[in-house]
């Protein structure tokens, strides 16, 4: 018995004594933690420099899955392009009548509401953490040259501006977060106006920080090299864009500080912001889904205003669900082809002639000739003979993509001039592209001898309409969410009735912050566009 006890005790000691000998601490060598990621000034630079990638990929759906950015549905719902796919919520949110956005986590299109929210804050938080780490350990700054330090701080502020401005233009409320925010204490949601004010301040700081040391932001950070001088100008150009774009209604548009817009545009000096569309790190699915071969068309809803044949008015006169590229007769004689002096459109009096003579931006492709468009039950009013081929190179093989086109700056200046009572200067700006594209020049009175655009009422559009026309043509699919038309039309009251004017805070975030009930916009409820200023038939 004694031996048994001894043996049992020995065995127990042997076995249980071995426990705890194993070293169970294992490091994750795949990704660093915060301490590892922000150990050196170089790390902080990597953290902050990566935020543009986060921001861009969300804005532009830089994945084939096309489920993240609202850019596609904003473009389709504002008739910048036309398709009826459910991908990217293009079909659901552009239906007629317009539905409300579905702010439900389980909805297939929820990510178009949620992802911009999270992606922008990922970028903002990363910048904030980086700048805070730099502030907490001033010795880190010694590891960077004065030039690199200035670049880092300027770019950080620039990204804070970009992130907050993006949020302010699309969400009703948002948090303001920077390196001074104590996140452990939480933070409060602010109305979008406040958020925009903060964003404009960050852009100012970025511009100021760019005015000292010389530096170059490398292509890897933002898809193209940018000097400090260029960065300062781009910051001012973006200030102008977002100051105007935050307006949801014509009333808010009128309240925009247009003089400040002009000041910023002057400081921007026409500085474009472009990037290489390499289809590996940088490319825009927004463009693809609004203009890609076989996926999208040009909608007649707005672009039909180029037409001088009267078929646009015929088309509009039909009930929405009976609109069709054929207007009711044999298709060779009733095909709704846009006959226009605008050289951006195919030229000719017949479909065959136009197919052989593509316009600068739009053409009739072979597959349109065969009439194979898409499901008719999703609206034949979406169909047209035309597609946009302006971005073929971009869609197929890579090209330069303009994040802030010079044309946008020029036309934004025109808009600001118009709002500040300088119609003549506005007309001069507008005429740059208008005349180049074969249309007669306008003046401060809105002279429109080309009658482009020709309004649904058959009247020739006035100066605002002429401005709108050039904005639609020249800034198409470039810039903010790849859907600048949505933001321009929103503030000018041109959006189709009941289109959502902004997005709600995502439902999951509301639940997490215990800010229920969940709410939404559009579809005739809160945050819905009023009847369009164009007074489209049947819109009411």
């Amino acid at each position: 018995m004694k031996n048994i006890r001894k043996t049992a005790v020995f065995a127990s000691l042997l076995l249980f004594g071995a426990a705890g000998c194993a070293d169970l601490d294992v490091d994750n060598t795949n990704q660093p933690d915060r301490a590892g990621a922000l150990r050196t000034a170089g790390d902080i630079e990597s953290l902050i420099s990566g935020t543009f990638s986060t921001w861009f990929h969300n804005q532009h759906n830089n994945t084939h899955s096309c489920a993240n950015s609202p850019g596609v549905w904003m473009g389709i719902a504002s008739f910048q392009g036309s398709n009826s796919w459910n991908n990217c919520a293009a079909n659901p949110y552009s239906q007629i009548p317009r539905p409300a956005l579905t702010n439900a986590p389980a909805d297939a299109n929820y990510n178009t509401i949620a992802q911009p929210w999270y992606a922008n804050y990922r970028a903002i938080a990363a910048v904030s953490q980086g700048l805070a780490a730099l502030a907490a350990d001033p010795e880190l700054e010694d590891d960077l040259s004065a030039s690199d330090l200035a670049r880092l701080k300027a770019f950080g502020k620039f990204m804070l501006g970009l992130g907050h401005a993006t949020l302010a233009t699309v969400y009703d409320r948002a948090f303001i977060v920077d390196e001074t925010t104590d996140l452990s204490a939480g933070t409060e949601l602010q109305p979008y106006g406040e958020v925009m004010t903060a964003a404009l301040g960050y852009f100012d700081e970025a511009a100021a920080l760019s005015s000292g040391e010389s530096f170059t932001i490398p292509s890897l950070w933002v898809g193209a090299s940018i000097t400090n001088v260029q960065l300062a100008k781009i910051a001012r150009g973006l200030k102008a864009r977002y100051r105007a774009s935050v307006a949801r209604t014509t009333a808010e548009r009128d309240a925009v500080d247009w003089a400040a817009v002009l000041t910023d545009l002057a400081a921007a000096g026409g500085q474009e912001w472009t990037m290489e569309h390499d289809w590996v790190n940088w490319w825009s699915n927004n463009v693809f889904w609004q203009s890609g071969y076989g996926y999208a068309w040009l909608s007649y809803q707005y672009y039909g205003m180029a037409d001088q044949s009267g078929r646009y008015q015929t088309w509009l006169g039909m009930t929405v669900n009976s609109r069709h590229p054929n207007l009711g007769g044999a298709d060779n004689t009733t095909a709704f082809i846009i006959v226009t002096p605008d050289l951006r459109f195919a030229q000719g009096a017949t479909r065959t002639a136009q197919a052989a003579a593509p316009g600068r931006y739009f053409r009739i492709p072979e597959y349109s000739i065969t009439g194979q468009w898409a499901r008719p039950d999703r609206g034949t009013w979406r169909w047209s003979w035309y597609r946009n081929h302006k971005f073929d190179a971009l869609n197929d093989a890579g090209d330069t993509y303009r994040l802030l086109p010079r044309s946008e700056l020029r036309l934004l200046a025109a808009e600001a001039l118009l709002r500040t009572g300088n119609g003549a200067a506005a007309a001069d700006s507008i005429n740059v592209s208008r005349v180049f594209n074969g249309l007669n020049a306008t003046n401060s009175s809105g002279l429109n001898t080309s009658c482009v655009p020709k309004l649904p009422s058959s009247a020739c559009g006035g100066l605002l309409h002429i401005l709108a026309w050039e904005v639609w043509m020249e800034t198409m699919m470039e810039g903010h969410f790849g859907s600048p038309k949505y933001f321009f039309d929103r503030r000018n009251g041109f959006l189709y009735k009941n289109t959502a004017l902004q997005m709600p805070i995502p439902a999951k975030e509301l639940q997490l912050l215990q800010l229920t009930p969940v709410y939404t916009y559009g579809g005739g409820g809160d945050g819905s566009a009023p009847t369009s200023a164009f007074a489209f038939p049947h819109e009411g």
């Binding site: 065995a11 127990s12 169970l24 990638s53 991908n87 804050y121 990363a126 890897l220 298709d331």
Partner: protein
């Protein structure tokens, strides 16, 4: 002094005794063991326990037991017992004398409860199943008359409570196994699979490499109660496989087995709805050409604008509400689905040798399996497996066991997502020829697959020829797997053993995806068209070692105790490297060096897991009828948060064998046993879960996940009640089990407020509860002469519900387009509940505002069961297709006769919503019935498997409706007044909310399947005596797998699902998303034993 003399006497006697004993002659008992039909039974142990003597029957059922004369007293009466798992033991009393030659034959019946079987999983040493106080299911090779193509599928339909789903038919792919339902709400980065142990090797990777022909025994422990012994890895259960080792062979015998099987793979069922030979377009009077909108006749492909059949010529808009799909394609039409698939070849060759000599026994085998599958252009699966098992008694008190297994396989991979060849197939019109050559190619295009027509339907700008991809893309996966284990046993005392074990599992994977330069895509994709290649190289290793002390005590009268102490240590390492690039500078050189260097990319991941554990388990057996069991275990793992590094698990269990009570007197009841077990086990987090992480890429660093030092494993508590009974002379066996499992501390990726910048943090934030009923009924139905009929019926049902969720409700899904959000995870929801839009079936589902404006009398339920609008005074009997209702429901125009989205009441918010539950993937119940008929040498075996009351989301069919290429539209054989137009079916595809599941295509997938069928005829040694080679047996067989399925599901096979993803099991994520279809296999086989 007296004592001293006594001592001397004893010593002398002892010294002389051997001489005296040696002088006595041995007794020999010979005999034959047969089954109820008179067929010989091999590997039956015949033992005289009292004399510590035994023997084993050979292939002819013969045995020869020699008892040394030294152990025999003249006229001694002893009990001789014949037993083997699967057969009811039988004992006889014989009288022995030194030098005697006796004959004792046995005829053993099939055992209906197999309580004689020895269990080694979850217990303190090998234990008779009758004395295990919880449920451990066992299968032997005899239960697998149709050898599964992989070890993982061996338990399919044979273990109650085990759901085995081959979510994909891709040859060489592993099925998903779910024991008693899911135990994790989210298995993202993990799986719901049980812990697998093979010959003592705790697997670090999937079971897919293991074959089934070497299996001697499988034990399945289904729940936490029984699996507590395995601690934090075992909440999902344990499957332990033991392969053959030559142990049961007679001494000095070497047995060889050669087996070959040859057959065909073929699609068992071509769903008629998947494609149609009809089209909806207008045709000329003799149906030879199409008509355009102007009424001009034209050929398809050249027609400028094909008009719908119901469209008025020259009409502005096509009218889908007046067009019925009834027209056949002109000219030659093809059933593209049947044309597409092919019949493939299946071969399996097996060579094995096993033997026993003195203290050595071994088993050596080689298996080659080739399965080409049913998709054209793919070579399928080719696997070679080698195995060596060896046991060696080194000394009386030391023995060594070693196992080594190596597998090498190659598999044609197949991307199982939308956009793949099956996706493209569902969009091909019947009037095109997929096997045609490009126009500019004169030679036979099959000589060069790059010449096969790429875009057979030029009007389809989305889908290319599916054959093109299969013939031209090279997507190959290669695997090399080594398993090795060694156990050294030292038995210093009769009651004490020490076991030291080491095991090693290594998996090498290489996966290459290659597109040649010039590869075409729709739409054009420069990253592919200029050539593309990626390669994944991955190494996974698992090293385990343990030391065990096992003690056996006799504690007075009829009280026995077994106690075990063990310490174990585990290492798991993974290293994966992924390289990709595009734009080859030269053609047909698939090397990374010749890719555009600017477009090369690489990534890698390394994981390390270190764990250890120790446990003590004790088992008391009292008077052969009361069994008490208890264990305690402590586990540590690097996967747990820093503050929660060690976790405790425990179990208490008891069993009562009522029929062993002296007072029990029910002659018809041969065995009645009740068991109760309460135990705990865990599920570990994935490697990344506890760490704070910032993602580092070429473009910078971004915060991703906030760390959690308090992260614990999921903790499952299970109560298991079971009853085992055998009746009527052991002819009927009944097993019933109820299990309740509550798994707390669910590991979930919890989203964080956006402003923190982190995406998520893994937290313990939920509870999942499941209830399971299992029953098994085994019967020896007929035993007459040389004919017998045995049957086994299994039933189980499991319900699993999320009872607590500490995070906002979230959606879950699987990989694939629009499949990310098909399930809804929230408190009170049953796991596997599909959410989407449902087609209204009654007025109660109408929105209130609609019903206020349009009373229920304006609606009727049509022959599909859907509520449709018929207008004031209208009826289904007087069709008014093409009439618009002038109102919308969920933004959908309501037309006469059209179905539309219905509303339901949200269970949580009680608000009306269009987002509704539309099905559930967990079945109401599973049922299987196996029958075995023996008649002389002929054995007929069949297994029918039924899974009832579950849903599958048939995405391919829903999406084919979008293209109007599916037979769902087919109205050719429908009475004219019941025909429905295109618009009607268009509406079933989708309403306003995107691509979520439609209730029409979340289908009831209940099925009954003839899963296995086997006809075997065995020629015994006596009938082969005239042949050379000393043959023991020759078996001819005809075998069928997955032969026939009875179901209403409109896909290739209702047994479909997607492994991985959020739910972590194809048995739970029952989504058809363009997987490789399951197929049936017929084979002929020959097996020779000598």
């Amino acid at each position: 002094m007296r004592n001293f003399r006594r001592l001397i006497a004893v010593v002398i006697a002892a010294a002389l005794a051997p001489v005296a004993l040696l002088a006595q002659e041995a007794a020999t008992i010979t005999g034959r063991v047969t089954n109820a039909q008179g067929q010989p039974e091999a590997a039956v142990n015949v033992q005289i326990t009292a004399l510590q003597s035994g023997a084993t029957t050979d292939a002819s059922g013969n045995y020869r037991l020699v008892v040394p004369g030294s152990r025999i007293r003249a006229g001694q009466q002893v009990t001789i017992v014949a037993s083997r798992q699967g057969l009811a033991s039988q004992s006889r009393t014989i009288t022995l004398n030194p030098g005697a030659n006796l004959t004792q034959n046995f005829q053993l019946n099939t055992s209906v409860l197999a309580l004689e079987a020895v269990v080694v999983t979850g217990v303190a040493g090998a234990t008779e199943r009758a004395k295990v106080p919880f449920e451990v299911a066992q299968l032997t090779a005899a239960d697998m008359p149709v050898p599964p193509t992989s070890a993982a599928s061996a338990i399919q339909g044979k273990v109650a409570g085990a759901q085995v789903v081959s979510g994909s038919g891709r040859p060489g792919s592993a099925p998903s196994i779910l024991l008693r339902g899911p135990q994790s709400i989210s298995a993202d980065g993990r799986s719901q699979e049980p812990l697998y142990i093979v010959d003592g090797v705790i697997l670090g990777s999937s079971m897919v490499d293991l074959d089934a022909l070497d299996i001697e025994n499988i034990e399945v422990v289904k729940g936490a109660a029984a699996a507590s012994l395995y601690g934090s890895r075992a909440a999902a259960g344990v499957v332990q496989i033991t392969t053959k080792r030559g142990k049961g062979l007679p001494n000095d015998e070497v047995r060889y087995t050669a087996r070959t099987e040859y057959g065909r793979n073929q699609i068992a069922f071509y769903p008629p709805e998947l494609l149609t030979e009809l089209h909806p377009f207008a045709m000329n009077a003799d149906s030879t050409q199409f008509l355009d909108n102007s009424g001009n006749a034209c050929d398809w492909l050249e027609c400028p604008s094909v008009a719908l059949a119901g469209q008025t010529r020259g009409a502005a808009a096509a009218n889908q509400w007046n067009t019925f799909m009834t027209n056949r394609w002109p000219g030659q039409t093809l059933n593209q689905v049947e044309e597409f698939f092919r019949s493939g070849v299946f071969t399996q060759n097996y060579l094995a040798a096993e033997g026993r000599a003195g203290g050595t026994n071994y088993h050596v085998s080689y298996i080659n399996m080739k399965e080409s599958g049913v998709l054209p252009g793919l070579e399928g699966f080719d696997r070679n497996n080698f195995r060596v098992n060896l046991d060696q008694a080194v000394r009386n008190d030391i023995s060594l066991s070693a196992s080594a297994f190596y597998s090498r396989s190659s598999q044609d991979n197949f991307p199982e997502n939308s956009g793949n060849p099956i996706f493209d197939l569902t969009r091909m019109p019947a009037g095109v020829n997929l096997f045609a050559c490009e126009d500019n190619v004169d030679e036979e295009c099959r000589d060069n697959p790059r010449n096969i027509i790429f875009q057979p339907d030029p009007t389809n700008t989305e889908s290319a020829n599916p054959i093109y991809d299969l013939l031209n893309r090279e997507y190959i996966q290669k695997r090399g797997r080594f398993l090795g284990a060694a156990t050294l046993r030292y038995s210093p005392l009769s009651w004490l053993d020490f076991d030291g074990n080491v095991s090693y599992d290594r998996l090498d994977q290489e996966e290459t995806d290659y597109f040649f330069k010039g590869y075409q895509t729709l739409p054009a994709n420069p990253a592919i068209n200029e050539g593309y290649m990626d390669r994944l190289n991955a190494l996974t290793e698992a090293f385990n070692t343990s030391i065990t002390a096992s003690m056996r005590f006799s504690l007075g009268n009829n009280v026995y105790n077994r106690t075990q102490l063990r310490y174990l240590y585990e290492e798991q390492d993974g290293l994966a490297t992924f390289t990709s690039g595009s734009d080859f500078s030269v053609v047909d050189i698939p090397q990374f060096d010749v890719l555009n260097h600017e477009l090369l990319g690489a990534s890698s991941a390394r994981t390390e897991v270190r764990s250890d554990g120790y446990f003590a388990i004790t088992n008391f057996e009292i008077a052969d009828r009361y069994i008490l069991d208890g264990l305690i275990r402590n586990d540590g793992s690097s996967l747990f948060g820093e503050d929660e590094r060690r976790q405790w698990y425990y179990r208490a269990a008891a069993a009562w064998r009522v029929t062993e009570e002296p007072w029990f007197r029910v002659p018809s009841l041969n065995e009645l046993k009740f068991s109760y077990a309460y135990g705990t086990a865990g599920n570990r987090p994935n490697f990344y879960a506890q760490y704070e992480t910032f993602a580092v890429s070429a473009t910078g660093i971004t915060p991703v996940r906030l760390g959690n030092q308090q992260l614990k494993p999921e903790f499952a508590r299970e109560q298991e009640l079971s009853m085992d009974a055998s009746m009527f002379g052991d002819r009927i066996g009944l097993e019933v089990t109820y299990a309740n499992r509550v798994t707390e501390d669910q590991i979930l990726a919890v989203p964080l407020p956006a402003y923190t910048g982190y995406v998520e943090q893994y937290q313990n934030a939920g509870t999942l509860e499941s209830n399971t009923w299992e029953a098994g009924l085994t019967a020896r139905l007929v035993e007459r002469g040389n004919f017998s009929w045995n049957a086994r019926l299994l039933y189980d049902r499991t319900r699993t519900k999320i009872t607590k969720l500490d995070v906002p409700a979230f959606t879950a899904g699987v990989d694939g387009q629009a499949l990310d959000d098909v399930f809804y995870i929230r408190e009170g929801e049953e796991m596997g509940t599909f959410y989407g839009f449902k087609i209204a079936e009654s007025c109660e589902e109408l929105p209130e505002a609609t019903l206020a404006a349009h009373p229920c009398s304006e609606f009727a339920v049509n022959d599909d069961g859907y509520l449709v609008w018929v207008g004031t005074g209208g009826s289904l009997g007087t069709p008014s297709w093409g009439t618009a209702g002038g109102f919308t429901i969920n933004n959908q125009q309501v037309n006469w006769g059209a179905p539309f989205a219905g509303q339901c009441t949200d269970r949580a918010t009680e608000e009306r919503t269009f987002f509704c539950p539309v099905g559930r993937t967990t079945p109401d119940y599973n049922l299987s019935l196996s029958n075995t008929f023996n008649w002389g040498g002929l054995t007929v075996y069949g297994l029918i498997d039924a899974v009832q009351g579950f849903s599958v989301y048939n995405q391919p069919l829903q999406w084919a409706v979008f293209k109007r290429t599916t037979g769902v539209f087919d109205q050719r054989d429908v009475a004219a007044n019941e025909r429905k137009p295109l618009g009607y079916y268009d509406a079933l595809y989708s309403f306003s909310s995107g691509l979520e599941p439609s209730s029409v295509f979340v289908e009831d997938a209940s099925f009954v399947k003839l899963r296995e069928l086997s006809l075997r005829y065995r020629f015994g040694a006596d009938r082969l005596a005239s042949l050379p080679g000393n043959l023991d047996g020759l078996t001819l067989s005809l075998t069928g797998r997955n032969l026939k399925t009875w179901t209403d599901y409109r896909g290739f096979d209702p047994e479909v699902g997607k492994a991985g993803g959020d739910l972590g099991s194809a048995a739970l994520a029952r989504v058809e998303g363009y997987q490789y279809p399951n197929f049936r296999t017929w084979t002929l086989g020959v097996e020779v034993n000598f």
